[in-house]
């Protein structure tokens, strides 16, 4: 099965969604005061809902591509979560994190390139 570009796009977007939902779930699970507990429920519900949407997107992507090629794209979640953590939790970027992000981008690219082999 050849992995179509739309499948890559779906998985990247789904992964972005799951990264958002991970942040939402993290926020929703923290102990809030009674007056804010409704808010934390909203975080939880939205987080779970986003996960569901992402899951459906990934299955549709899998209709059009190989598992061993598409699934590693999910590793870009490390990148999204790092970026989101930078802005929302004010974490700092270190040289190691930057190198890690580059390594993951390189890895996903290699897998994408590797999936094109053999179609001669």
């Amino acid at each position: 099965m050849k992995t179509k570009p739309i499948a890559f796009i779906l998985v990247i977007n789904a992964t972005l969604l799951t990264s958002f939902s991970q942040i939402l779930l993290k926020l929703g699970v923290q102990k809030f005061t009674f007056s804010l507990s409704m808010l934390s429920n909203l975080f939880l519900i939205t987080g779970i809902a986003l996960y569901g949407v992402a899951a459906v997107m990934i299955i549709y992507a899998l209709k059009n591509g190989e598992l061993s090629v598409l699934y590693p794209v999910v590793s870009t979640s490390y990148i999204w979560v790092s970026i989101l953590a930078l802005f929302i939790f004010k974490e700092t970027i270190t040289i190691w994190k930057a190198l890690g992000v580059l390594s993951i981008i390189g890895g996903v690219s290699l897998i994408g390139l590797g999936s094109r082999e053999g179609k001669k």
Binding site: I59, S103, L113
Partner: protein
């Protein structure tokens, strides 16, 4: 101190997660947003169950393992997926794809340790 059991837990969760993903891939052919596409889809049902187990294990060990160990271990799932894909989905691995996986595991390690 990271408990040995927690590490086993993470590895178990990656293996079950990989198996769940395999089932989702197998479910994708018949999948659609309809009754028959979801509720009558056997692979989707079992895939969801297995993935749920994986998530439960993950949440259980999450508090017991540092992120710097967790992320790299979790990234091992890409190895399991590659092996399962070759064995059950007739997909092919090659040097480029294995190199890509290696870079991903390296990247995950750098991000979590850095």
């Amino acid at each position: 101190m990271i408990s040995f059991i927690a590490i086993i837990g993470v590895i178990a969760c990656t293996i079950t997660g990989a198996i769940g993903s395999l089932f989702f891939k197998l479910s994708s052919e018949k999948f659609s947003l309809s009754y028959s596409g979801i509720l009558k889809n056997r692979f989707f049902f079992y895939g969801s169950l297995i993935y749920l187990v994986s998530t439960i294990i993950y949440l259980s060990v999450l508090s017991a393992v540092e992120l710097s160990i967790l992320y790299p271990l979790v990234s091992l799932q890409y190895i399991w997926i590659s092996i399962l894909s070759v064995k059950y989905l007739k997909e092919k691995m090659n040097l480029m794809k294995w190199s890509g996986i290696t870079l991903i595991i390296l990247g995950a390690t750098l991000i979590s340790v850095g």
